[in-house]
Amino acid sequence: MTDTVRAGRGKFFDLARPSRQHLLGYILIAPAVLMVAAIIVWPLILAIDLSFQQVKIPRLGGASRPFSLNNYTWLFSSEEFWLACWVTFKLVVVVTAGSVAVGLSTALLANNRFKGRTVARLGIALPWAVPEIIAVVIFAWMFDTSFGLFGWLAIQLGFSDQMIPWVSSSTAAFWAVAITMVWKGFPFVSIMCLAGLQSIPSDYYAAAKVDGASVFQRFRWITMPLLMPVLGVTLVLTLLWVFRDFSIIKVLTGGGPLRSTQTLSIMTYDQAFQYHNFGRAAAVGVLTLVICIIASLLMLGRRSKSIY
């Protein structure tokens, strides 16, 4: 009896024993949990804490200011915040719709059989591989107020009788940002939709054809319903990307003119690193996160699991 106990004790660290299997699982996951706690959870808690303090530039370990709701009351009563909400909303709708329209149609196109299909697919999704900052460099020059290609094109095509002031006009600046973001954002939709399209068995189309369904009917009753799950997830991921994007807007317009392209993301950053109101910035950021979570839960509903 004592022998078996001893033998058992001697093998305390034998991780192959079935009863120790769980322990091994926890050991393997521990480094990731610790890292995530240190670089995501703790900073996030600090940020939430900051948003409830009236603080300019915080010092870690310094005395924390008393709890106050001032940042939030300031936000809700400031025009700037509501304008940023409106700009974000407009941009999210325009860019998401544009990316889905271009992405879905290019995916449908590339799903055809033709020679050079592999090369065409690579070309269609190439903007995905162009870093955002480089995309901004390209479009900033094409949207140049004096010698930009787009201004010249607009004149040639009769949309405008003079060069368009992309930098100083609010509407023009908004569209410049939106067009740049669609160019950068649609390849992701295209890649995802193409993968979704290819997982639809071709028998379905063959059967529908036998039954006399037209091209449009096949698209409406086979392609769309079977593509919906992928499209839904892609839509939400694109929406989240527009919501949180910083670099394209910051480098292209800096949020101007007159805050006409200042989204919540840009406002968060500028409050912190331009005006040094870290407390207010944290409040904007926390609200952005809350809006992101609510929006994606609403859109995905019970399918929200499929996003990860």
Binding site: M35, L60, F114, W128, I133, T268, G285
Partner: protein, 276 residues
């Protein structure tokens, strides 16, 4: 399904037109780099320069520390990918093989982490890094980029491990392999394509970062990454568009090359999560 000649023609015409529209901005970047200043500041625009200035690339390479910027981007990307993979591989394996309490919470957490705006996280990270005296060091990027990489990499790797049958390790353990040995010697070699896809995707994520680099490194030019360096070439009053375009070509090339040659892996990573 046979197409008539007219249908084929229409299809090829549409494909070529679409490709031209999509790739035009990339073409325009190269044309801008090769044009003379006179050709740039003139309307109608020059669609192909009369005398392409091929030496612009050598001139910009000599005038700006592009190699150093690329090197810094590389260091930050390799560092954050290595650190993240180290913890994500074992975590993904554990999530795939052991039923643990909190497994579902982990999934929810990955979801939230995906929604976390960088502009929010950068605020507390700035305070933390300044109190540790790290501002200006590339270590800030290694840690900050890991916040983007670890959650998605863990989840993506779990997905890959799920596709590898458990019986393989059980067979190895029957033959006297320890559980860790079975993971390292049996599962990881099979999962190599998945590991490569995850690491590549993570590399691209890190390379694309601008927000963190701008916040933590703006006052230490020796540690500027490629993206940060490029934006400093945008002048307040005058921007030399041919110079900045030539520099952009250098900075976009590594990622475009990865994309063109390893597209299969990258796309595998992108779509892995969505098709369930």
């Amino acid at each position: 399904m046979r197409r008539t000649f007219a249908q084929s023609l229409a299809l090829y015409a549409t494909v070529i037109f679409t490709l031209l529209m999509i790739l035009f901005p990339v073409y325009w970047l190269v044309v801008t780099a090769l044009s003379t200043t006179n050709e740039l500041y003139r309307l109608p625009p020059t669609f192909w320069p009369a005398d392409p200035q091929w030496d612009i690339f050598a001139r910009v390479w000599a005038a700006k520390p592009i190699l150093m910027w690329l090197w810094n981007s590389m260091l930050a990307a390799v560092g954050s990918v290595a650190l993240s993979m180290l913890v994500s591989v074992s975590a993904g394996y554990a999530l795939s093989r052991y039923s643990m309490r909190g497994g579902a919470t982990m999934g929810l957490f990955v979801l939230t982490a995906k929604m976390l705006p960088a502009t929010l996280l950068v605020i507390p990270l700035f305070s933390i890094f300044s109190s540790f005296g790290l501002i200006g060091s590339l270590w800030t990027l290694v840690l900050a980029h890991s916040t983007m990489i670890i959650p998605f990499a863990t989840w993506m790797l779990k997905g890959y491990f799920d596709t590898i049958p458990k019986e393989l390790e059980q067979a190895a353990m029957v033959d006297g392999c320890s559980p860790i040995g079975a993971m390292v010697r049996v599962v990881l070699p099979i999962a190599t394509p998945g590991l490569a896809a995850t690491a590549l995707y993570a590399f691209v994520l890190s390379w694309a970062d601008y927000a963190y680099a701008r916040t933590f490194l703006v006052n230490s030019p020796d540690n500027w990454t490629a993206n940060l360096g490029i934006t400093t070439m945008q002048g307040e009053y005058v921007t030399y568009w041919n110079d900045i375009s030539a520099a952009s070509v250098f900075i976009a090339l590594p990622i475009i090359a990865i994309y063109l040659f390893l597209e299969r892996y990258l796309v595998g990573g992108l779509t892995a999560g969505a098709e369930k």
